[in-house]
Structure formats: structure tokens, C-alpha cells
């Protein structure tokens, strides 16, 4: 068994035009920086990207938007990106906005082998259009389908050669869910260690969900809203 890849370029080599990709991260926190850069270099097009946000103009998925590589974006919030707005208003980019918990749980369902879930989020709103509504104990819920994505690309703090992953702080967010949900899951990690070096008690994503892993480099970890106090 060898899950280890040299770098992002090698790990994403077979991602093809028209692919559907889950991308982990919340805002710019915990995003797979190396793979995004490699996808931009590769110039793969017509992608459907499922990610909570769409990056900012010059970082994260925003870099792929600049190159017009994204055909459709499925997100819960896309507010920080002028190029995104321009492409959306001009009709170049298709966007599906879905509630954040629904986005997370549709990933979870895929990873748990459950075809769909019922959630109350969006009942009575335009999100409910065309969806089955079912009542349980007098409360209404929408039927939401598990995602079906060709690839998942996630970022973890530490990983081992078996593909086991540990995330750091709130950089966990969507990453473990998307790791479970891809047909092929690619993990980039800040530190790649030998099997046995990570405590099995501390693993967040078991290696069975991870097909490819590599140690990333030059993480910028950009902060979107720097808020500090003096003392």
C-alpha cells in the first residue's frame, strides 16, 4: 500500500475538466493551499466546487475563480470576493447557496453511506423549492441528498503514511466531513509522519477515507479578519 505522493502536482494529476470537487476549510482557515495552487497551475476547467466559502480575490478558491476554472460553486456564504460577484452577475458562474449545516451534513451522509438526510433548515424558504417535505412529531423537515463528488481535497495538521489525519483547532471545520465524502480523497498535511507516530486515540479521520497524502509546503495561512486586544 502506498498512499504517499510527492507533492500537490502529483496528487491532483488526474483531476479532469468537469470534475466535482469538495474543498475543505472555513473562510481561509484550513484550506488546502498547495492543491489549490496546483489546480491553478494545471489549468483544469469547468469544475464544480463544493466548499463553504469561495476564498477571497487573491487567495483560496478565489485564485481558481480568477482563472475562470470554476463552472459552478456550491457554498453557504460567498461574501468576500469581488471577482466572484462579477462572474455571478455576468452569468459566467453558476452558484448554489445552501445552509451551512445542510452542507456539512450532506458531506457527513456521503461518508456514512447514507443517501439522504432530513433537516429543518430551510423549511418555508426558497431553499425548500422542489424538495420533499416530511413531518416528524409535528415538525417539518427537508430531504437533502448526500453529495456525490469525484474528489475531496482536505487540509490537516498532521497525517501519517496510513492516511490517518489530525486537524488543528478550528481548521478542522469541514475537512473531516469532506475527507469522508470523496470518491477519491486527497489530504495535504503540514507534517507527514511514519505510521505509529500518531496516537490512535487522537485520530480524527481514519486512513480508510484517505487515498492520497502528501506533506505540503510554504503554508501562508492567511488571516481574513485580524482582531486583537492590547493586553
Amino acid at each position: 500500500m502506498n498512499k504517499i505522493y510527492k507533492d500537490a502536482t502529483q496528487a491532483i494529476e488526474d483531476i479532469h475538466d468537469g470534475a466535482t470537487i469538495l474543498l475543505g476549510g472555513f473562510g481561509l482557515c484550513g484550506i488546502p493551499e498547495n492543491c489549490i495552487t496546483a489546480l491553478v497551475s494545471k489549468g483544469v476547467n469547468n469544475l464544480t466546487c463544493i466548499s463553504n466559502n469561495a476564498g477571497v480575490d487573491d487567495f483560496g478558491i478565489g485564485l481558481m475563480l480568477q482563472k475562470k476554472q470554476v463552472k459552478k460553486m456550491i457554498s453557504s456564504y460567498v461574501g468576500e470576493n469581488a471577482e466572484f460577484e462579477r462572474q455571478l452577475l455576468s452569468g459566467e458562474l453558476e452558484v448554489e447557496l445552501i445552509p451551512q449545516g445542510t452542507l456539512a451534513t450532506r458531506c457527513m451522509a456521503a461518508g456514512y453511506g447514507i443517501p439522504a438526510i432530513y433537516t429543518p433548515a430551510g423549511v418555508g424558504t426558497e431553499v425548500a423549492h422542489g424538495k420533499e417535505v416530511r413531518s416528524f412529531d409535528g415538525k417539518e423537515y427537508l430531504l437533502e441528498m448526500a453529495f456525490n463528488a469525484d474528489f475531496a481535497i482536505v487540509k490537516a495538521w498532521k497525517g501519517d503514511t496510513m492516511g490517518n489525519l489530525i486537524y488543528k483547532e478550528t481548521a478542522r471545520n469541514f475537512n473531516p466531513l469532506m475527507a469522508m465524502a470523496g470518491k477519491i480523497t486527497i489530504a495535504e498535511v503540514e507534517e507527514l509522519v511514519e505510521a505509529g507516530e500518531l496516537d490512535p486515540n487522537q485520530i480524527h479521520t481514519p486512513g480508510i477515507y484517505v487515498n492520497r497524502i502528501f506533506e505540503g509546503k510554504n503554508y501562508e495561512k492567511r488571516i481574513e479578519q485580524l482582531t486583537v486586544r492590547d493586553s
Binding site: 482557515c29 463553504n52 451551512q100 478550528t170 485580524l226
Partner: protein, 218 residues
């Protein structure tokens, strides 16, 4: 005098009870954390995967991997925990979060809320708002009573696309504290120096006024 945003936050903080798990939205709701009453412990939930959100970090100690749902750098506290986004909304849907505070563009007299989309304007998305309003046990809205044009934001029916239906329990505006009941809005308190008549005139939805309406004290 109408309340300023800090006083709105201060008044909402009086809704907090010891041991509450609380989710605060972006804007005025975030300020509520600054007014937690003495002797009360609340645990702040940030829906990107943190319970026990602490204050902003000391300058130089910020950590890009540690942010809140507003993407601001924050800190943890003793007893904090991290989790993924599905578990985060799981605890919200399961009713484990005691109080949710969020802003709104419109609230209707039956508790519908609109706060995510204005037709014709750039739509940024609902984020976690639809999940929160669909599940939270107790939703308090922090908002101005009227929009910049002076039109009431408390309506018989929302005119903007909805975020959730029949979910708002209480509104703290710059003019009043209002409960959402089965029979419509009910006036509970008024801002210092603001008359009941002014509140009635600026509330387009059905407003129930019973007896003497107490003035808020700060």
C-alpha cells in the same frame, strides 16, 4: 432616547442564564459577550467548530487556525472544545444550544425572520442562519426598529425572502423589547424616554400593549 447598539447588546445580555450555551451572530449580537452579568457563566458556541470561545488574542499571539464564524482571530478558554461542522450543527439541531442571538432585516408578527437576501442585490449566502433559526429553542433578534428610510422592520408579513418561519421568540430593538406571541407582537419594555405611542407608530405588525409598559434601566 433610543438605545444605541451597545445598549441593545447590554439588554440582550440580561436574557442570559448561568450555564447557557449561546450562539451569537455577527454584528450587534457579538457585542452581547461584553455584557455577561456578574456571577453568570455562559459558554459561547462558534458554528465553525468551537465551544468556549474566548476573547480576541493579545497582539502578536493571533493564530490563523483559531477563528470564529465571523472569521475573526479569537482564543480558547479553559474547558474549550473543537469539533467538525456537522457536529456543530448537530448540537444546534438537537436543541443543545440554549440561546441564539442574531440580526434581522425583517421579523413578522408570527415570528418569521428575513435576514439573508435582498432581491436585486448581491446575495452573499445564508451561512448558518437557516440552520440556527430552524432549530434553536430560543431565538432573540437584535435590530433597529425601523430601516434607514424610517419604515418598520416589524411587519404583519415579511416582504423579503425568508430565513426561517415561526421561530423568533423575542426582539430587542433600539426602541423596545417585544415578545413574539401566538397573537402577535407583545410590548414588554420600552427604551428610556421612548413613548408607547412612538413604538406603536413604528410597528407595522400587530402590537399588543397591556397595562403599564416598564422603561428599561441601564
Amino acid at each position: 432616547m433610543a438605545l444605541d447598539k451597545y445598549q441593545i447588546a447590554q439588554r440582550i445580555a440580561r436574557e442570559l442564564k448561568d450555564g447557557y450555551y449561546v450562539n451569537l451572530g455577527i454584528g450587534i449580537p457579538t457585542l452581547v459577550a461584553n455584557y455577561v452579568p456578574q456571577g453568570i457563566d455562559v459558554i459561547l458556541q462558534s458554528e465553525n467548530g468551537l465551544l468556549g470561545m474566548g476573547p480576541f488574542p493579545i497582539k502578536g499571539e493571533e493564530d490563523a487556525d483559531l477563528i470564529n464564524a465571523g472569521k475573526q482571530t479569537i482564543t480558547t478558554l479553559p474547558g474549550s472544545s473543537f469539533f467538525d461542522s456537522a457536529m456543530s450543527f448537530g448540537m444546534i439541531r438537537a436543541g443543545k444550544v440554549d440561546l441564539t442571538v442574531l440580526g434581522a432585516m425583517e421579523v413578522s408578527e408570527n415570528g418569521d425572520i428575513a435576514n439573508w437576501k435582498i432581491p436585486g442585490k448581491m446575495v452573499k449566502g445564508m451561512g448558518g442562519a437557516m440552520d440556527l433559526v430552524a432549530s434553536a429553542k430560543n431565538i432573540v433578534v437584535a435590530m433597529m426598529h425601523t430601516n434607514p428610510k424610517g419604515e418598520s422592520k416589524l411587519l404583519p408579513n415579511c416582504t423579503l425572502p425568508l430565513t426561517g418561519v415561526r421561530c423568533v421568540k423575542k426582539i430587542v430593538s433600539d426602541l423596545a423589547v417585544i415578545e413574539v406571541t401566538l397573537d402577535g407582537f407583545k410590548l414588554l419594555e420600552r427604551a428610556p424616554g421612548v413613548s408607547v405611542e412612538e413604538i406603536i407608530s413604528k410597528t407595522a405588525g400587530k402590537l399588543i400593549v397591556e397595562g403599564e409598559i416598564e422603561e428599561m434601566k441601564f
